[in-house]
């Protein structure tokens, strides 16, 4: 876990994972039915 905070690339990966997770939740809740 420390690697995710103490290195820039680790922090990058951590934030990207969180962001994509939030985006996936938005897709499932609000956008899926509208697109398919």
């Amino acid at each position: 876990m420390k690697w995710f905070i103490n290195t820039m690339i680790g922090y990058w990966v951590l934030l990207l994972a969180i962001s994509l997770g939030i985006a996936a939740a938005i897709y499932e809740i609000w956008l899926r039915d509208a697109l398919f």
């Binding site: 962001s19 985006a23 996936a24 897709y27």
Partner: protein
């Protein structure tokens, strides 16, 4: 869900406000309009392509005014630099549109556009990353030696070369603290204008690095001055789109509500960080936009049928906006912690301003 009568679709209001806020924050921080993020997001929400483009341009014009006012208060706008570049940019945009029309006639515009976008974005990403890593390393070394470092440090040799061109008239940009031939500024305006007209984007992601690596402005000045340019060009674009009926003003209003807060926060956030931090976020934005464009293209090429590809394209389009916002927010929080003497990761000190 809200009924957008002009666009003829239903979409959740909060997603529009959220998009306005996130893109406003990113735009205010790195000095871009954010069209490459907003237009695909609006299409994902169900807006027709032409309307997504019109809504995007109108919201960018409003948001850039908010961000420009805030950057002016922070002293990040060089009016001489901005005004000298506007003429070149306008001329360049016109030439860019002509080149695009010519390639369309040859039946090549799609391939050329995609190749040009990808090559430029990847090229800028690689150069900005390498230069920023060197700058950050140099800041660390200087601070280790006990030397005081300001909020800007760039190791690029470009500005020295271009500032040595002594072609009349030479202009003194007092806020940016540079003395350079006006032709260099005009040339930068023309080149970025051509790219902007040809690729159909605002051009901020090309202009900010050009102002830093060619003209020699600090990243903060480049961001503020570029937002001034976007406010001018975006205003004209918004007017043209409105005249053509491409704008749903209700959607624009919802986006502007979010953008007002986001753009202010993004602009103020620049005062917490050094130039290299802004350049890092700019380079991340470039590479994520490239990957997002690839995913959307792949989805379209396969006939927009596969749900998994739609899922990946949508998730990446929205995810990149959230990622950039979280990174900006983190930098501000880490900067405040560092100023209070609290522990921060080792990669933070070279990136934040010590007040």
């Amino acid at each position: 869900m809200f009924d957008f009568l002009i666009a003829g679709i239903q979409a959740p209001i909060f997603l529009l406000v959220l998009t306005g806020m996130t893109v406003g924050m990113v735009g205010g921080f790195i000095g871009v309009g954010g069209g490459y993020m907003v237009t695909p997001a609006l299409i994902v929400f169900g807006f027709p392509g032409y309307m997504a483009s019109g809504i995007d341009m109108t919201h960018i014009a409003g948001k850039s005014v908010v961000a420009t006012v805030r950057h002016r208060q922070l002293g990040n706008i060089d009016w001489v630099l901005g005004l000298a570049m506007v003429g070149g940019t306008m001329f360049g945009v016109e030439q860019g549109v002509r080149i695009l029309t010519y390639t369309k006639k040859l039946g090549l515009s799609g391939i050329i556009l995609l190749t040009a976008s990808v090559v430029i974005m990847i090229g800028l990403f690689v150069y900005t990353q390498l230069e920023t890593q060197k700058s950050t390393k140099k800041i660390s070394e200087l601070e280790k030696d006990g030397k005081k470092v300001g909020r800007e440090l760039s190791v690029s040799k470009g500005p020295r070369i271009f500032q040595s061109i002594s072609l009349f008239p030479i202009v003194r940009c007092r806020t940016a603290r540079i003395v350079v031939s006006m032709w260099v500024i005009v040339l930068v305006g023309i080149i970025t204008g051509v790219l902007s007209g040809f690729l159909g984007v605002g051009g901020g992601f090309v202009r900010v690095p050009a102002l830093v690596y060619i003209v020699g402005a600090s990243t903060h000045i480049a961001v503020g001055t570029d937002l001034l340019e976007i406010a001018v060009s975006g205003g004209y674009g918004a007017l043209r789109h409105s005249m053509m009926g491409n704008v749903d003003m209700v959607a624009v209003l919802f986006m502007i509500v979010g953008a007002m807060f986001g753009a202010q926060f993004g602009s103020i956030a620049t005062s917490f960080v050094r130039g290299p931090a802004i350049r890092y976020i700019l380079s991340y934005s470039l590479i994520l936009a490239t990957v997002g464009a690839f995913l959307r293209l792949f989805y379209m090429l396969t006939g927009s049928k596969h749900e998994i590809l739609s899922f990946l394209a949508v998730v990446f389009t929205l995810g990149e906006m959230f990622f950039l916002c979280f990174f900006i927010l983190s930098l501000v929080i880490f900067s405040l912690r560092y100023q209070k003497g609290k522990p921060v990761p080792a990669w933070i000190p070279p990136l934040v301003v010590v007040k």
